[in-house]
Point group: C3
Chain length 386, copies 3
Amino acid sequence: MATAVGRLPGPLAGLSGTMSEWQERVEKSPLLDFADYCLRGVGQVCLMNNPLTGVFILAGLFVFDAWHGVAALVGLAVSTLTALLLRFDRAAIRAGLFGFNGLLVGAGLATSLGPSWDGTVFGWIILIAAFSSVFHAALAAITMRAWGIPPFTLAFNFATLMFLVGALTFTHGRFGLAHDRFGGVVAPSEPEIGGVDPAFFAVSGDSQAADILTAILNGIGQLFFAEDVVAGILIVVGILFCSRIAGVMALVGSAIGMLTGLAVGASGAAIYHGLWSFNSFAAALAIGGVFFVFSSRSFVLGVGCAILAALIFGALTSFFEPWGLPALTLPFCFATIIFVLLRYATPSVEAVEVEDITTPEEHLARARGARSADVGRDRVGSLEPS
Amino acid sequence: MATAVGRLPGPLAGLSGTMSEWQERVEKSPLLDFADYCLRGVGQVCLMNNPLTGVFILAGLFVFDAWHGVAALVGLAVSTLTALLLRFDRAAIRAGLFGFNGLLVGAGLATSLGPSWDGTVFGWIILIAAFSSVFHAALAAITMRAWGIPPFTLAFNFATLMFLVGALTFTHGRFGLAHDRFGGVVAPSEPEIGGVDPAFFAVSGDSQAADILTAILNGIGQLFFAEDVVAGILIVVGILFCSRIAGVMALVGSAIGMLTGLAVGASGAAIYHGLWSFNSFAAALAIGGVFFVFSSRSFVLGVGCAILAALIFGALTSFFEPWGLPALTLPFCFATIIFVLLRYATPSVEAVEVEDITTPEEHLARARGARSADVGRDRVGSLEPS
Amino acid sequence: MATAVGRLPGPLAGLSGTMSEWQERVEKSPLLDFADYCLRGVGQVCLMNNPLTGVFILAGLFVFDAWHGVAALVGLAVSTLTALLLRFDRAAIRAGLFGFNGLLVGAGLATSLGPSWDGTVFGWIILIAAFSSVFHAALAAITMRAWGIPPFTLAFNFATLMFLVGALTFTHGRFGLAHDRFGGVVAPSEPEIGGVDPAFFAVSGDSQAADILTAILNGIGQLFFAEDVVAGILIVVGILFCSRIAGVMALVGSAIGMLTGLAVGASGAAIYHGLWSFNSFAAALAIGGVFFVFSSRSFVLGVGCAILAALIFGALTSFFEPWGLPALTLPFCFATIIFVLLRYATPSVEAVEVEDITTPEEHLARARGARSADVGRDRVGSLEPS
């Protein structure tokens, strides 16, 4: 069966892939079902429709910081609930597609607003997470209808940037001290970072190999605003449950982002903190296996997309400097949209239709099945009179 | 008859709704016909296709300031004439859809450029108003073809911002003193405004209730750059002639904008001057009755859209600060486009097709008629063999 | 034959129009064929699908500066090769549509980065030129599918601006001294330029007529970042080989840009250097003959589009000032897209379908042929019973 493809062996089989049997089982209990939507929403930040991936990622967020985890959970639940209340497409809600933007809103505002455990901050998370679902539905109407591709995390980006730039005008939305977690790190003018030095490893004092690994794992965690090596490991393990290809592409993408940062001479500290990597990680994963069937050619495109995401990160970071805004995941969105659009421009990679997306392993198996079926049909065809 | 729906009682009937009999009567006289296009164009700023609404709004502009009114009239006539000369869609011109952008260009440039009654300023109004019609036709080709929704006042915004930001480079387009009418008021850094103080009522010294009412009516007038309580009242009266639902939603939207400004801790003076309200007034009116059939659900969406418009106002005001540019009606455009796009995402509100838009009252009557017809058809259908 | 239309007389006939016989002849030699793609790509910067036009333009670039010419050639070859490697549409590659963005990337980076003949600069040109082909394929998928119009030079603009703004963050992409060739010239605050003075002719000390001609020809060369009168003459001669109408519209457009700059009171030096002209030159050429059949009405639209391109140039130059970025050819793209979209809004000008675009002369001949055929058909039709 196609559903068995890409599963882990033995007792882990039911926890890998998209866990469709699990989904059928929890459907009867409204509460479990809602939890399943939410957990899939966590995984969907990196395009993994698997609740167990979500559990691992959430564990990573709580390991990083409990307040961060709670804020992300609130955003996740609010955006999913908003979609249910507004009666958006149930299949999309079930797949977690109205949860990932809210999760990122929660994590992003917890990072940029202070203090922790604050009522006003909770209020903003609830409001902006609710709007993120409205934005996502509207953006999907545009991008799906016009280009046949999803709006990725654009809704999170637009809603969060709307708040962050607005907060320069609002008094009740003032940035807390946490704001520095975005700020200056990226700016090349800070002399104490030693931007030019390609030996960014000086930052930690550890061995070079350890620093490279730290930067790559920080880059994984940073997609969720969680700069933490353990969080990074937990996220990769979660991804591996859903897809081995995706897990490898995540690490490859994060490394490519780091290398691009080094190659262009970016601030060593920014690279070490994973800021050049998180967009590239998601971009490589999206192109190399999810939106295109995995192959040596889509791997190369995935690497190209990861480089582009890193370059756009540098560009947007400079562009947003007058307002002190972070680039968030806009670089991932722009780079990935550009490369997914290549499906209309070249036959050299095999595109996966958006409605058929499950896991890279299943896409590969389906593509091989279709090809052998074609061969079979051609053989039969050659025997028939034309 | 459907055309009688939503009319005022007795002798006022002919002056309410879309005044279609009047339109047929004036069609024979080219001059009266052109005046009718223009007056409907005034009403279309707030989506009211009624020449009498236009008369009331124009009266409000002249009450506010004669130069302001003349500048708006010039922009209105130029943009309508441009559309006629370029042979754009006659039905759209007749409905005033090539007038509203020009009117706003005239009013906007009269507000931002000085001195009054100046030849250079008239020259700019004529040029930019003419381009606003070209922009509107181009934008409509994009938004109507791709998304099935109109471009609202985007043409006015793009043409005016192109001029305003360009004027920082042009010598002959320098801002006059009038520029301050946009400027600092919104900036939170000005200490004399007392931004934090939720008691923005301190601004005028009047009673709190009077101040609230003033802010709401200022917010109505500000859509036309006319901060004036009498202008606000005249505009609401004009809207009420066309639609009672729209008149109520206008006041509700303006109040929601004011409350959102207070809730986020915006500058009290900015709120008092109606700057947080005018986008919300138009947004609530568009969603609660015009683009969706009026219902408790579309009312809630209208309120949500008004909140969003206010948040986007805060965001764009901060974003534009490096250039000292105003947000104009971009917040209304963005918020309303997002909410109108929800027609593709949810069956819980009933969308009105763009070509069928008349007045909220007629939409409601048509929807009720269709529903009872459906019931009738279903009953008949159940008697027939399937 | 239609292919003979718009050809120069006698021995020059084979070198004018789109040189289709030449294309068929070189097809057999892969190297000559590739050179043909590239040369057509040079001409396509100003919408001329003719390799000889490309030769003249390249000659102009080398006359201006050898390093500039080599950098442009590298960008041209890399972007064309990238399209071949990624197996983009061969017909588009053959028409030079994957070359013009790369050429502009090479010329643009040679202008903004220093020093000349530098390995790092070559590296950046190769990387950004390769991405420009990816961008163009993705943008074409959007604009052709949604609006039926090509993305013009948007890919060059986005890729180059991504690099230029990013270079504020990258250390290894630091601007060299050459950056000043974009900079301050346009800024109105520089007192030594004497912005207000409409007598911009004071800049050179030559006669007024010579200065006007210099400004117009500088404006032609500036489209290729080559401010040089001889380069301007060579480019115009190259265009004339392909199309006489286009050559005249190029000069008219450049003059309109200059006049618009004078009318709005822009910096005299900026006008003299052709900065107000190059976008207008390409815009007038695109509207007056290429995208609309040449007529008195499309001529007027072309003039309007040239004025708009100049106004947008002023606007974007101010908008980009906080980052010190140039407007590049974005003004041409925006103005031309707006005017090409009018094909959906008015029957008063005859649009040319994108896939049927060759030369203005051929469009005119085809339109006349179609009209006389219509007349013939109508006559025949009137004899038949209806």
